[in-house]
């Protein structure tokens, strides 16, 4: 009976994915890169392999010319923890971190030439962790100082993912100012969201490091990292403990969470359901009985390789297609004639109203 009860509260996922996004560039936003890398480190430590993590960092802090400790990114002011590590695998770096690429990763509408490491190949039994950090406001998150993603677009992207069953359960964590506004508009099932601050509040950074010269981490992620350092792959800590991380006394802002779209009770959701990769296993009890004396079949592969003719270069590249490709559709602008007509109208009205004699003052 206990076995059945255990089964009922377990999540039905078979694999885990993580999408970790840092959206700020420039040296003084060191803390956002450190935030993302600390979550990356915890997630890798708890078992999710690089092939299942999409890491997007908008700027390079470790090898930044202003970094006094090159090849490191620290999370604590006494340089206790180097979250950069030895085996970081950044999938989208620098200018590749754009709203368009982020939405493409989530919805799967990626050009066919994208390599496997840059794709989110999740299926209906995947639990996905999405962590975003950067500068944000009420209802938007700034990407790279030049564009922004709104909460409506994010909610629509999650809905597109749900329609195609690209996730089983999704945990969304955001560490920005007014972060709670980003999860207000979600409407797809099986999403749990955490934010570092409510609407109208700012998320503050943790201490600065005088040696490096910038703030190293944001408060919320700092305490989340402390919390995650205690978790090991077999721990039974549940989500309610994660909700308690960073109370107002430590964080100054009020962290928020949203669980109404989630079907299971957060009490029964293990941290490792999202941050780790604990697989369901079954003992193999059946075997197939094989006849050992069977002769090998002729291996068909070498013959196939010889049969194909070497392709000529011109045939491989559709040159005509490339030359005659139409340029990508840009943003809509009002047509030029409209502006000219508008100005002609303005000038005509001006001179009709005030008399034509003023023309000589213009020239």
């Amino acid at each position: 009976f206990q076995d059945q009860a255990e089964q009922f509260f377990r999540s039905g996922h078979t694999n885990n994915w993580a999408v970790l996004v840092c959206t700020s560039r420039f040296w003084f936003n060191y803390r956002h890169v450190a935030n993302t890398l600390s979550v990356y480190r915890s997630v890798k430590r708890l078992g999710i392999p690089d092939s299942h993590i999409v890491l997007m960092l908008a700027d390079d802090m470790a090898c930044n010319p202003r970094n006094p400790k090159p090849a490191t990114v620290f999370s604590h002011k006494n340089m206790e923890l180097n979250v950069y590590g030895d085996d970081v695998e950044v999938d989208y770096r620098s200018y590749e971190v754009t709203v368009e690429n982020f939405l493409r990763v989530l919805t799967g509408r990626i050009p066919p030439s994208t390599p496997r490491s840059k794709r989110l190949l999740s299926d209906d039994r995947s639990n996905i962790l999405i962590y975003m950090t950067g500068h944000g406001g009420n209802g938007f998150l700034k990407f790279q100082d030049s564009e922004e993603i709104t909460n409506v677009e994010l909610a629509d992207a999650f809905e597109q993912m749900w329609q195609k069953r690209r996730y089983n359960e999704l945990l969304f964590i955001i560490d920005t100012c007014q972060g709670a506004s980003m999860y207000e508009r979600f409407y797809s099932p099986n999403i749990m969201a955490l934010a570092s601050s409510q609407v109208g509040e700012d998320s503050l950074s943790h201490q600065p490091d005088l040696g490096i010269g910038v703030h190293l981490m944001d408060r919320y992620t700092f305490y989340v990292l402390e919390f995650l350092e205690e978790i090991h792959p077999a721990s039974q800590t549940n989500m309610n403990d994660l909700f308690q991380v960073c109370p107002k006394s430590l964080c100054v802002s009020t962290p928020g969470h949203r669980t109404d779209l989630f079907q299971r009770d957060p009490q029964n959701v293990l941290i490792t359901d999202f941050f780790g990769s604990v697989r369901k296993v079954e003992i193999t009890t059946e075997t197939l009985s094989l006849d050992r004396d069977v002769a090998g079949l002729e291996s068909k592969f070498p013959e196939e390789e010889l049969a194909t003719e070497p392709l000529k270069y011109a045939e491989q590249l559709p040159v005509a297609q490339i030359i005659h490709q139409k340029p990508k559709q840009k943003d809509w602008h009002p047509p030029g004639g409209f502006i000219l007509g508008l100005w002609a109208l303005i000038i005509m009205v001006f001179f009709k109203t005030y008399g034509i004699k003023h023309m000589k003052h213009v020239f």
């Binding site: 496997r116 597109q160 195609k164 604990v278 002769a295 009205v349």
Partner: protein, 495 residues
């Protein structure tokens, strides 16, 4: 609505016709059953049965000594189209079936059924057999798992591999202790002898690609415990989920293909941890010494015999017995696809498929599930694509996206038609085409809704620019109109 039609033939051997059979042979009968998945979706299964008596050749074949020989002799005489079934009813007293066995299911698409006295008992037995050999309500529900309301299906039911156009199979040999063991495995030979026949049989279902690798110094994530009584090491059942992760980071996968990967790992334990056994929940060692994870693959532990003399020189040369290994791996492959023989009633005897890996009716089982799953996926995809287009009115649909959608719709319609005619293979291929087209249409990179701005956003950008400019223009226009009207009235006034 989807109707699954199974053409069946029920052949009565002499002396097996039940007494209460009303109509004289041969005659046709149809049995329909509705499998309801949720409030709105249901799948109808329809068994079109043709009852007849045996021909002289079939009688001669049924006179064989054992059921297996009879099955082999009957094979050339039966209908071999995919999805069809043939049941041979033998008298209760027949010695063809061993004692206590009422049904013998052969390697192909036929079964030998004991008559069982009355017509009702026979029909109940026939229904059981057809469910085992084609599809059951739960296998259809598992295929349509996203439509089943949560809570009705246990979380374990959705574990089979999803229907995909291809699968990548990777065999890996893990040698954590190369100083003590030099492991040789003839993987290419084993793949040719044992794996290829199975994959050839499954080639109807999907494309398979096979690769292999050897990893050195790859350790499992869990330290095995020592058991003094048997002087061996063991991995307990609850530590198994943590074994895979450290290894998985090093497994790698082909960068070019997007197909799901099935990993089969053969682990040769270190000399200091040999022999290593896997314990099940009750603490007993598992006979296969292997475990598998749904939708991922399987791991088998291969113990190396301790050398005869303690002074044997290291490293020891190990020649892996590939046949034993492949027996386990291929069994795991079957389980990953959902072909389990565990839920069969005890009075059934299932013929082992041998080197082919799976019986013909098991292949049909897969095809039924995958066809239904493909049709459901296509309809969900196209519906959500239509909803997306409704929401963003000014999205531009390129010609090739439109043609893929048309092709998907035509293919899925043809798949449903073929299913209702009982042509399983044609239905499956049509459903595969439908899935390819619909996925290509849905995931086309041009459908990113970020590129299309809703009208309210356009107004929000241009109103603040043009409204202040427009105020003096409009006021001046009003002034002009008033002036011209006054001028027109003046001549009359002057009078």
């Amino acid at each position: 609505q989807v109707r699954l039609v199974v053409p069946m033939a029920v052949v009565f051997a002499p002396g097996s016709v039940p007494g209460d059979l009303r109509k004289p042979l041969p005659f046709r009968d149809v049995q329909e059953m509705e499998i309801s998945v949720n409030l709105r979706t249901s799948v109808t299964s329809r068994y079109e049965m043709r009852y007849r008596s045996t021909t002289a050749q079939e009688e001669a074949a049924l006179a064989a000594a054992t059921a297996r020989e009879a099955d082999a002799a009957l094979y050339p005489l039966q209908d071999t189209t995919l999805g069809s079934l043939t049941m041979y009813v033998v008298p209760d007293t027949s010695s063809l079936l061993p004692q206590g066995i009422n049904v013998y299911v052969g390697k192909h698409r036929s079964a030998l059924v004991r008559a069982g006295g009355s017509l009702a008992a026979l029909q109940a037995r026939l229904r059981e057999v057809t469910q085992v050999m084609s599809f059951t309500a739960s296998s259809i529900a598992a295929a349509l798992s996203d439509r089943v309301p949560d809570g009705q299906l246990s979380p374990d039911a959705r574990r089979n591999l999803k229907s995909s156009l291809g699968y990548e199979i990777t065999f890996s040999l893990l040698n954590p202790d190369p100083k003590s063991h030099t492991v040789d495995w003839d993987i290419e030979g084993a793949v040719n002898r044992f794996v290829k026949p199975v994959l050839d049989k499954l080639s109807l279902v999907a494309n398979f690609s096979v690769d292999s690798q050897i990893l050195y110094y790859a350790v499992l994530g869990v330290t095995p415990r020592y058991d003094k009584e048997s002087s061996s090491f063991f991995l307990s059942a609850h530590s198994l989920p943590h074994v895979i992760n450290p290894v998985e980071a090093r497994l790698g996968s082909s960068a070019a293909s997007l197909y799901p990967v099935l990993n089969f790992l053969l682990y040769v334990p270190e000399r200091s941890h040999s022999p290593l056994y896997i314990q099940d929940k009750d603490g007993a060692p598992v006979s296969t010494n292997a475990f598998h994870s749904p939708r991922w693959g399987g791991i088998m532990v291969y113990n190396v015999e301790a050398p005869a003399s303690p002074q044997a020189s290291l490293p020891l040369h190990v020649d892996v017995d590939m046949a034993r290994v492949m027996e386990v791996f291929l069994a795991q492959l079957r389980l990953l696809f959902g072909l389990s023989r565990e839920e069969v009633p005890p009075e059934f005897l299932l013929e082992s498929p041998g080197n082919e890996g799976l019986a013909d009716w098991e292949l049909d089982h897969l095809l039924w599930a995958h066809t239904v799953e493909n049709i459901a996926t296509v309809s969900t995809t196209l519906t959500s694509l239509a909803q997306l287009l409704d929401k963003i009115g000014n999205i531009v649909i390129k010609d090739d996206v439109a043609s893929e959608v048309y092709r998907a719709v035509a293919s899925v319609q043809s798949a449903v038609t073929e299913l209702s005619l009982g042509h399983l293979l044609a239905a499956f291929q049509a459903s595969k085409e439908a899935v390819t087209s619909s996925e290509r249409a849905f995931f086309d990179p041009s459908l990113l809704h970020l590129l299309y701005f809703p009208d309210d956003q356009k107004f929000a950008i241009y109103i603040p620019l043009f409204l202040p400019m427009a105020v003096p223009i409009l006021l001046s226009l009003a002034k002009i109109v008033r002036e011209t009207r006054l001028r027109k009235k003046e001549p009359t006034k002057m009078d």
